[in-house]
């Protein structure tokens, strides 16, 4: 079996990649996708921890990641709607041009 630390390390790496992508990229769609990457990274960690013998065959981590998937779906739906709406107003999908609330 693979030690759980491997999974956690992979999860941390994916999370970092997603976070960096979110911080660097100005394309809102890509930023949204980066968020999905981060959520997936978290899921990996949760499911891996769920396999520890201390959890005694409980499904806590898996159930938790199930709800994360549900929340991710919701956030993507709303996020993409906002992208469309932003595009209609500003004719752009660049996050730094969406500054209607500036000052």
């Amino acid at each position: 079996m693979i030690p759980v630390e491997h999974y956690v390390a992979l999860s941390a790496l994916l999370f970092t990649i997603g976070g960096v992508g979110f911080l660097v990229r100005r394309n809102v769609i890509v930023a949204l996708m980066s968020i999905e990457v981060m959520l997936n990274a978290v899921n990996v960690a949760l499911v891996a921890f769920n396999r520890l013998p201390t959890h005694n065959n409980a499904h806590t981590g898996q159930v938790f990641s199930f709800f994360i998937i549900a929340v991710a779906a919701a956030s993507v739906a709303v996020g993409l709607a906002i992208v469309l709406s932003l595009f209609r107003i500003r004719r752009t999908v660049r996050s730094d041009e969406a500054d209607l609330l500036k000052n």
Binding site: G19, L23, L100, K102
Partner: protein, 865 residues
Amino acid sequence: MKPFLDLFSQNDFSLIAVVLLMPLLGAFVNGVFGRRLGKQAVRMMALSAVGVSFAAAIATFVALNSAIDATHAAHGEAAHSKLAWLAWEWMRVSGPNGSKIAIDLRFSVDALSGVMMLVVTGVGFLIHVYASEYMIADKGYWRFFCYLNLFIFSMLVLILGDSLPVLFVGWEGVGLCSYLLIGFWYGKLPNAAAGKKAFIANRIGDFGLIVAMFLLVVYCGALDWDGIQRHANDLVATSDRPGPINLWPIGGGKFEDYVIAGIRVPLHNLQPDKPWTITAATAVGLMLFLGATGKSAQIPLYVWLPDAMAGPTPVSALIHAATMVTAGIYLICRLSFVFVLSPAAMIVVAFTGAATALLAATIAVVQNDIKKVLAYSTVSQLGFMVLGVGVGAFTAGFFHVFTHAFFKACLFLGAGSVIHAMHARIHDEARSQDMRNMGGMKKYMPLTYGTFLASTLCIIGFPGTSGFFSKDEILARVLIETPTGVKLANAAAPWQWPSWAPWVLWMMGVAAATLTAFYMMRLVFQTFWGDFRGWTIGRPSQVAKSEHESDHGHAEDEDAEDGDHEHHDDLSQPGPPPHESPRPMTIPLLILAAAAIVAGIFNPAAIKLVVSTFSFLPLEHWLDPVFKDAARGITMAEHHTAHTRELISTFGAFTAFAAGSGLAYWVYVKEKGKPAREMMLKVPRLYRLALEKWRVDEAYDKTVVAGVDALADTAASVDQGIIDFILARLTALIVAATGTILRVFQNGVVHVYAAVMVVGVLALGWFFVQPHADFTVVEQNGDYTLQAGPGPGYEFRWYPDATKDPQTKDFSVADNLKVHVADGKSQTVKLEVKNAFGRVGSKAFTITRPATPTSAAGAVQIREQ
């Protein structure tokens, strides 16, 4: 009928719901849909609502009668029984000594409220019929009937409520309806002002009622009638905890000298030898009576009632004569057992009533507006009722409520009929109500004249009419009954009336009765006798040009919406004579006049003087169980004296009637009003003063209203200077300045926000990466238990003695440690914590135990190293 009434049990008599809710339904339908329904539908709805309510009230009354008969048969004597219906449980409040007082929305009918219920629904129905014709031309027809039905509902809640809070709901409801109806034609400023005045005057009374409720909760621990009655004696008991109420020093404190900066303030002079106290019964009685003065228009709050005549005449008849204004007397009757406990409160009630009767009568003598005269006459008659209940003659006072409802409603409706006729000729509110423009109306409107004369004879006490019996009864009772209070073992002896009080009250009453006879006959003579003086009113020769034009325009407006009035735009020609009112207006008049004449048979006590064996007093027997508890606080004169005094009183009352009406006949018929004019010229200032209602309103304006205005001005300047300026503007300025600074950071670039967030996340992350060793120490007899705080993935290693090896070599999940420290010793304990990231933190403590072995729980001193 019996099988139908058997459907309802005595304690769940849901027929009361029909009585109550039909008018509410009418109000709802008329108020919500009335505008679209059209006048005929509104009329039908309003009349059927009150009509059904009246029918259900009759059925309820029949059931009540049989219930009382049944109790009578069971107990052998007349006992207090009632029909009750619980709508729902309203609330529970904390009472004295931790008890809970259940306040239920419960309604009940007993002998007293049963009669009131019949009067309200019956007279109310007749007035609805009358109003449905009187108001037919008004644009706000639906609104009017919505209010009127709502009024009937509120009045029924007031009457049928089984506890003070429920009564209070109705009390406020009728106040609201009264306000809405006085200001019904709210487009005119005086009407709106009159409505406001009524509302505010009533509020002052409501304050008294609320205070009385609080006192009753504290002293009696109950607010329903039965509960108050059970615990009424607690109001005067000295042994109970609340005890009497301290007036001075307020709240029962003690004044002692106060030294400030070496100066002695001699406050002890303010301390009386014995604290001034009144019993709670007196306080409750006076507060309830304050409520009654508001609603029943007694001194000092009577000023709203004459102004209330700004409303439509049927409203004046229903609300401001027959029903609502008697609510105060009803309240006193209802809580008679509280009032009789305090002769001091009773004397205030009695003298206020007598003074109101007299004062209002003097004003009524000189008024020219027909409705104003009737309004002051109402105030005066209410004074009579209050006088009656004030001397403990609750039956007599209530009987006057009963008879007054009929004849005063009839008088007002008759006046409305006259105004209706006058209005056909004179399109001016004030002049069409001025008696100087009337005269000779008996020729044109015989039905109105007949009914008006009948009810006038009632009110002035023509022998044999209902008014004679009821008013005579009040005057007689003033002389033969005196409230002496109740002597209780655990209470101080009640204060007693001075012996002159009944005679003074009686003379005031007789004087008021004389004036009543005079001004009422003056009203009849000026309005209905002689020749019609209205021919020349409103003609061009009498009216200035501009006024003429405005009248002209008004007439056209009226014509547009009101076809059946015979208006003549050509004012140069004499108009048609006044005409009799249509049938829906005259039939209620006839019924009310008939009722007014014969209502005396319910309590013709005066016949006893002639036929000593006479004992047909249905109302007295009917109400006897209600007032039985109150009767213990009333002392009747000894039988022989009583008979003599009754004779004196009846003679006085008859003299008052004869003198007053005879004088009026001499002045206004024989001499055609000449003596009155001479009198007017002889004492012009007195005349003006009376005409201006003794300038009471002006005095109130100068004192109370001016005081409130000054307070309001002060408050306004505080509001503008401190609240608005310092608090509001300054705060806004600070907020705006801070906002201007902070706005710079809101540059709208998401990446900057995200970068800043990363910094925060880093800080949090650092906090979690660091291990935080911490524990709490609990001591018991030298055994110390150390409990480590939790954290992510924490494992612990304990050093019971920091200088030696750890307890276990490896880190473990054991998060507590027990050590024993002997007396007077000290020991250093150390904890090492390793978290999920493998980082280790530590914390050490020195535990020192004091050397005194006697102290079981030695103080623990913890010193961090």
